[in-house]
Subunit: 405 residues, 2 copies
């Protein structure tokens, strides 16, 4: 199909897009096509003023009183409630704080402590973002378990009487493959093991359905599709039915039933609060809270529909513009297996991504040879998408021309 | 001594105070006497503008590029280098990130892993801020150790052939007592055990001398005397001689030798970076970095001298104004045993602190009966100090009057 036809279609798709106006909420005025929201979400404009108030008034004027009066102390669970509907969790099960890595540690240790007696194996996603694997290994070492590395698709076959729990990424950070959360969770449960899911690359991009699918524990970051800001705090989901048995390896004073009693003995709080550890990093946390306002009035189902339309359209444009075989999509064509990014293998990926960024199309690189393009439906449109594919084709053509690229 | 004489002396002391002008760097324009900097440091004024730039330009405009171009990725170790001189550490040994509780966990697990074989006990400060005790207990449980609770002064007698490490608070959060870091550290080393110090209530208020006294590991928060903001990230010190053997229980991808290699196997980075875990919370971290500017040109020795003068003067004013026996100082009179706060036991402490705060003297309460007054030499003056004691006396007199208080 011709470039002109694609451009026209892109404009039509944007015109028909019910989410198109959301883009105005974000600081994206520089003409960049920002396809790296799966690494760092763009800035919701109002966060800057909100933080000026948090810093200037809440910290600067109210000072210590803000722990009560500005709701600082309860921020971890309050913001957890804002995230809960985005991951399909009823209230009281999500708490915000610490990094994803730290939450993976809490979740994996807690999971193996809840598992039936005598089970000594933790299944770990072979394609996981690396930190999960490193942390699971540490959790295993500290709790007398061993890790078994398996592809997510093979978890149902690998789970056995020795399996305590499995730690799986919902969407593969590299390829954008969406794994079968309901099926894998059910297979684990059938054999008495627990399911711990990492939602970093799915939350905010597609429906997760934690409660619906009976997930036991989950973690995720908030700086990708949730736009919480660089290194904004992660979250932990503990299914209500497990909360009484949630036995944290990081029982900091914020998770105590009476934190200001300051007693020598540890008595865990009830509910999701039990997943807290130390004093929450309020500035990062309240920036996240403000950022979540962009979700008001938006359903994750609408976001998912647009996400699939964007990635479909991008793949279509790439096919139309780029010579066959020059790049290879690592992202599944089937919707049921696709997250919200497109990963293209490309032998000269480092140089190509550098040129793309220089031309205002910002994706990122996963070494050695993967071009990653993340599609955040709240601020990426179809015209952006067509432009990204067109610029990619130009960059590849330049690289392949006799003059070199 | 008369009130008039005390007021005059206070003004003289302020006039002679070389640090007095530092107060202008802080947002303290509301007439409050802020004696709660040992809980939440006051706002350094310039942090607000700095954060507007971090949010608006670094995140909003540069977006993902800021991980390199704005120095986000290296913030944990860069800010560690700013804190290092304040705690007496040569470069390369301090890294910032995570909460104090999480850093206590790293430090205690790493310490027992470094300790000589066959040692199964961790000595824990009986007067510790509670989170350290809870976390040490968790670390002990996960590593096959047991905790032994001892008063800091008794550590030298309690350390024995079974002691792997001791975790001690440098300054008692409740009483303000300063413990003998050099002596306790030496006693531990003499019997082959490691010293882990919690500096939350000492760093930024007095010289710590980590290198000088051969401390093995240390942690501390940055939101008290370092004014980093609510819940700003904590730090971890690992003495250079131990860094090769620092075996983190939280080996997140940020501590990997090649984090962007994203390899399945974990290879720890060299140096203090090994203490990192997940993606750093950049907003909180860069607010802390900005806040540390108030230390430019100030020595911790000068701060210590003023701190002792302030707490001496406060105790003197309290003695002059408050009827004998109405309150009892829990803070040692000896300089060598005093941190930077004064704790007064008072039977009706909750009501008294409420009245103090209503009259613009902000300290805090430690249940059931302790009034805490923290003295931050960078922004508390002698006139403030006299006023605090005077208002305290008024509040107590009102409470004791026939009309009740």
């Amino acid at each position: 199909m011709s470039e002109t036809r694609m451009t026209e279609r892109a404009a039509e798709l944007d015109a028909a897009d019910g989410l198109a106006k959301r883009r105005e909420l974000f600081a994206l005025d520089d003409g960049t096509v920002y396809l790296d929201g799966n690494s760092l979400g763009a800035l919701p404009r109002h966060v800057r003023d909100r933080m000026a108030d948090v810093i200037g008034r809440q910290w600067g004027e109210l000072r210590i009183r803000s722990w009560d009066e500005s709701g600082w102390w309860t921020a971890p669970e309050r913001i957890g409630e804002r995230i809960a509907p985005l991951v399909g969790a009823a209230p009281g099960q999500v708490v915000v704080g610490d990094s994803t890595s730290v939450n993976v540690f809490k979740a994996v240790v807690a999971a193996v402590r809840m598992a039936p007696e005598g089970r000594d194996e933790i299944l770990v996603d072979a394609t996981t973002f690396p930190t999960d694997g490193y942390i699971a290994e540490s959790a295993a070492r500290l709790t007398g378990h061993r890790t078994v590395v398996v592809d997510p698709a093979d978890v149902p076959d690998a789970v056995g009487p020795r399996t305590a729990a499995a730690l799986v990424n919902h969407v593969d950070y590299r390829t954008g493959r969406l794994h079968d959360l309901p099926g894998i969770t059910a297979a684990l449960h059938e054999r008495g093991a627990l399911a711990v899911w990492d939602l970093c690359h799915s939350a905010g991009a597609l429906p997760v359905g934690l409660d619906e699918h009976g997930v036991d524990l989950a973690v995720g970051c908030t700086y990708k599709y949730l736009n919480g800001g660089p290194g904004s705090p992660a979250y932990l989901y503990v299914a209500e039915r497990h909360q009484d048995r949630f036995d944290s390896p990081l029982p900091g004073w914020n998770s105590h039933a009476d934190p200001f009693g300051m007693t020598r003995g540890y008595t865990p709080a009830e509910g999701a609060v039990r997943g807290r550890v130390g004093t929450p990093d309020i500035l990062s946390m309240l920036a996240l809270e403000a950022a979540l306002d962009v979700w008001d009035g938006v359903t994750v189902e609408a976001v998912r529909a647009k996400s699939l339309a964007l990635t479909d359209f991008f793949l279509e444009c790439v096919e139309a513009y780029v010579p066959r075989g020059r790049v290879t999509s690592l992202t599944p064509a089937a919707h049921a297996e696709r997250g919200s990014q497109v990963a293209l293998a490309c032998p000269d990926a480092p140089a190509v991504m550098e040129s793309l960024i220089a031309r205002g199309v910002v994706g990122d690189l996963r070494r050695p040879d993967v071009l990653r393009f993340g599609f955040t439906p709240l601020y990426v449109g179809f015209v952006d998408t067509e432009r990204a594919a067109r610029v990619l084709a130009e960059v590849l053509a330049a690289a392949d021309s006799p003059a070199g690229g």
